[in-house]
Symmetry: C2
Subunit: 207 residues, 2 copies
Amino acid sequence: MPRPRSFDEGRVLELAREQFWATGYAGTRMDQIAASTGLGKGSLYGAFGDKSALFHRVFDEWSAAIVGQAALRLTGGSDEEAFARLSTYVHFVAENTAEDTDRRGCLLAKGTAELAQHDPVIARRSAETMNALMALLHKEILACQRHGDIDNNADPAQLAALLLAVLRGIEAVGKAGVDPRTLAGIADSALAVLPRPAPSSTDCQLP
Amino acid sequence: MPRPRSFDEGRVLELAREQFWATGYAGTRMDQIAASTGLGKGSLYGAFGDKSALFHRVFDEWSAAIVGQAALRLTGGSDEEAFARLSTYVHFVAENTAEDTDRRGCLLAKGTAELAQHDPVIARRSAETMNALMALLHKEILACQRHGDIDNNADPAQLAALLLAVLRGIEAVGKAGVDPRTLAGIADSALAVLPRPAPSSTDCQLP
DNA sequence: CGCGTTCTTGACTAAAGAGTCCATAACGAC
DNA sequence: GTCGTTATGGACTCTTTAGTCAAGAACGCG
């Protein structure tokens, strides 16, 4: 058994991700990554292969994390709290976006947009990520409907797609410089606007 | 009076925009642009300056076009048709995104994200563009409220922000590979979900 | 028609970046 | 401690790319 790594692989991927986030794939220099991690280029290439391979690892880890985060916050729990979970999650995304507009953001909209054309693997995986998120939202909406927080007549798949678009949209406008207050407002109104069940006919009385 | 340009400046900007769209700022090579336009690099640099200046012109023209397009479709008309205009516009964006997922898309999410950090001008202008769009949506929602198509209790600014996020979100998920049908569905549900005025109490009768 | 001005062309320069290589250091096993 | 294996670091190469330049072509004007 030979000499072990002197650096934390995960940490390197994290720093690389920051770079890719900030400057996109083409805009990121391997030298920057080497410098920010303190590694020599030899080690970097030895451990991860070339730039494209490094990006793939970063991308895969990141999309897993996004889905994982969503799953963590949305899965498993009573139908009763489903709407609250949804609400928390939507606000979480909004806040997260607002906090660090330039660091965080959507690799799906950056590295992806650049690479997807030339790299079918990235394209496929980004679609998978979207579908996974949509599935999670779908499940949660069904739970809301079971508990009576969302109108049963509404199509849950449609609502899930809408919510997903809103979440991505929040990131997009956030990155474009819209202020954090507005982002939070968007999260609020997205939830407010979800169709509530029609009140039962007995509720329909004049005071 | 000297020799005139032998090429159409607007056309060159158009082709350059395609490139920037497809591959982002850093990923776009001046040589590609020269090749696709048929111009020599000398002419290119002579006419537009350096890469960054060229991008600025492309970006400015594009953001003006986006806002112009929205203004064209949303402005001026009766309150009566306001909701229909809104609906048409939202679907227009969805279809447009669906049609050419990889060519079109959001410069605000690409060139911007890369450049905004280092180029305050781009950052500012992208924020302005968002605000302009939001203002247009805001006006339209007010018109809807006047005509009774949207609940007067709803905050029009919030709804405008929400709609803007949905529109950007449609582009984002479209680019991530979500299928066109779903995009159209998002447009539908975004409109369906807008709060309708509460029915007047006289409507509240059992059959 | 000829002149001056501006465009055009493409070869050229300079710099930056991806990826390589090798001498050396560090570790684990025995 | 010694040996074999693998990481390390940085100098090095080779390719790509932004940007320049000078010679020549094209146009408008008088």
